[in-house]
Symmetry: C2
Subunit: 431 residues, 2 copies
């Protein structure tokens, strides 16, 4: 058994500084668990000037270097914690660390969702641990529960609200009745959205996360590029109002399902029933809902981002890896993507749809649009018609579950109708 | 590495038959994970006639014995799964199994909450695993997330809805406006409550569960007898209506908190704010809400009981133990009750209270009761007064947070007032 387990920290930003703080604050408690001191031996940052800019942590300058490879190659370091984020240089550092025989803990969803196969394969071949609890859901324990706690189950679906920024924006739109742009600006002012919020708003962040969750849930590699995505930029204030009238709330949903035809993995705004456990997940909170054949429905809820929540997950991984080191059990629970499974084309997915149409407010309009749906094989579940101004009306349709292909066919027919001005929005309804 | 890991199953009731089913159904998937066949080698039941009574599972009679000790002593068996429930003979079997060097997986909250110290001590000394994910929250992964996933945190509180029967009864009372007795009868008719539902209704089941959670969360042994408890039998239909008016819902809350004066561990009906994540947990669902210094608030939600949900948790433990056997790491993550911490007396706990009083409907009543509260050092947050019939009124008080001692003092003073008929109910308010 080791007396010291040495950590090399790559990155001292939001998550890195949180890890630094927790390892100091909880030193005694963690030592009790791993029977060794968990010490950060070296920290790599990009530029020494970063230290001046931030009051995040008080750190001994002698610990800090701008040469990450020096840390990776240091034979005294047992665990490399990568909290730089983004693709490069993070991916290269993780790869080098594994090659050098280091265990790696990372919060990097982007690297894992794009290069998971390469990195997990390398880790398995080198017999080292590659842990990533913080990559999805911030501090919420979800990776280990899915990988271990629910192992008795054949998982049929995982769906979640996994991006706090977009959830905050949609919650503001719901509560204040404001537009997407106004809500986003407020989120940026409040610090809940980055200045360039495109990764969040366009669904890239959520897509990487659902790729990771799907890979575990279905024992098959799903990469970020396999995930269909739509952002929240097109959600209109009236969509939110109509959703409410119909008993739904709009969330940016990350969803992964398996059926006999393959995997259905996507991120897009979706209407979910107000009584669904995910519907009440507001603001910066995240939740991941899992359905298994034995356990039924389970949900994991908490803060999906932030320095200390994410660091909480990183430190739990550090403790797991440290225990593995102590008991010589590293590299045992590796990649579980045993199978290859096809990801369905969007044309083949089946769901219900909300379709908001602006049309002339005159007799026969509803009949024409309904016929266009019917001719495309789309059956309607409900319709609301409202006069908006002068001779215009908004028509809100909810379809029964149907193949996306048929919906797109109906869309083509509807836009050609002379009574129709435009289809203002189409949002999938996930019950 | 073993090719076969043999399981001895003690009990073939609700949970046992679920374990049997899952191990058969998921044989291939589980083998892939543990690199060995997980086989039930023997099953102990109380009486062979049980086999005729039930259509639960198709089982080869040659596997079945009424002699549990035969299984426990069988040198070919690696893991004993105890799903008999109740104190004896379960406790004795677990003890013997550990003494014989067997690893044990149990769903038995009662044994763990009462004899945990003895059993975990024995397991640690013998270097065997004693796993118990199914003892709290049915299929919801909560033990491992609390023990491992949230290890970076100093936990300040754990509170949950951990008994499905009482939650179903309270949900019925809320939705149907019926009395406790009527709701309980319906729960029994629907199969959500046992014929003798006293263990659930009086809070014993929840008390055992919160004792287990508190022991892990605070690294200090809490036993079932340390837990203050009140059942739901005294909750009145009008309590539920007033709660709703005040923005609360009544749940049987199992709660464990730590502050500088010690632990506060209790089970009782409580009003919780409608916007709290626990408030929406209805029917037979369970949820456990945890607050940690780094992670903030997290919640775990799912079905708290039932054959397959509970068996899902048991099987996840079997897989963990089997992996430990394969990698020779058994007995490593044992008891984490490193400290001794005092459990507070109820007189010393601090919370808010709802107090429902029946009094004469005449002037000066409110002033007299308010003065009695004030004289006992209890400050009032709100009051509702309603005429009920003829010259009677119901007065609903909500206090600010105060020591329970002061509330009891106020209670004594109020019942002595000539204008007061009786205090109909007192319910703690947990925000």
């Amino acid at each position: 058994m080791k007396k010291n387990i040495n950590i090399g920290l790559l990155g001292l930003g939001t998550v890195g500084s949180g890890v630094f703080k927790i390892l100091n604050k909880r030193k005694g408690a963690l030592k009790r668990l791993v029977e060794a001191d968990l010490a950060i031996k070296k920290v790599a940052i990009k530029d020494m000037r970063e230290l001046k800019d931030r009051n995040l942590v008080k750190i001994d300058k002698k610990l800090v270097t701008t040469n990450a490879m020096e840390i990776i190659k240091d034979p005294d370091i047992d665990i490399i914690v990568e909290v730089i984020g983004g693709r490069e240089p993070a991916r290269g550092f993780i790869k080098e660390a594994i090659k050098t025989g280091k265990h790696v803990v990372t919060a990097n969803k982007e690297v894992l969702a794009n290069f998971g196969e390469e990195l997990f394969g390398l880790a398995d071949s080198k017999g080292v641990d590659l842990y990533f609890e913080a990559s999805v859901g911030g501090g919420i324990p979800i990776i280990a529960p899915l990988k271990r706690g629910l192992v008795a189950n054949k998982i049929s679906q995982v769906k979640g609200i996994v991006n706090g920024t977009t959830n905050y924006v949609l919650t503001r739109m719901y509560e204040d009745g404001c537009s997407f742009k106004t809500a986003l600006k407020e989120a940026q002012r409040e610090g809940f959205a980055e200045r360039d919020a495109s990764q969040d708003v366009e669904g890239n962040d959520a897509a990487a996360k659902i790729a990771i969750l799907a890979s575990i849930a279905f024992n098959a590699r799903v990469t970020a590029k396999d995930v269909y995505k739509e952002g929240i930029g097109r959600v209109l204030p009236q969509d939110i109002i109509y959703a409410d009238e119909m008993g739904y709330v709009i969330k940016l949903l990350a969803l992964a399902r398996e059926d006999k035809d393959g995997l259905d993995v996507r991120v897009h705004p979706a209407m979910i029933p107000l009584e669904h456990p995910l519907a009440g997940v507001d603001g910066v909170y995240n939740a991941i809902f899992v359905e298994g054949d034995s356990v039924g429905e389970v949900m994991f809820f908490g803060k999906g981002a932030g320095s200390l929540p994410a660091a909480s997950a990183v430190v739990s991984d550090i403790v797991e890896v440290a225990r593995n080191i102590q008991y010589e059990r590293c590299g045992k629970i590796g990649c579980t993507c045993f199978e290859e499974k096809p990801v369905k084309k969007m044309d083949d997915i089946i769901t219900s749809y909300y379709v908001l149409i602006q049309a002339a407010d005159k007799s026969g309009v509803l009949a024409k649009i309904s016929k266009a749906f019917g001719d495309a094989g789309v059956s309607l579940a409900s319709v609301i018609q409202k006069r908006t101004w002068k001779d215009k009306a908004e028509l809100v349709f909810e379809t029964h579950p149907v193949k996306e292909h048929n919906l797109r066919e109906a869309q083509k027919r509807i836009v050609k109708l002379d009574v129709v001005d435009s289809i203002l929005n189409i949002i999938r309804v996930e019950t």
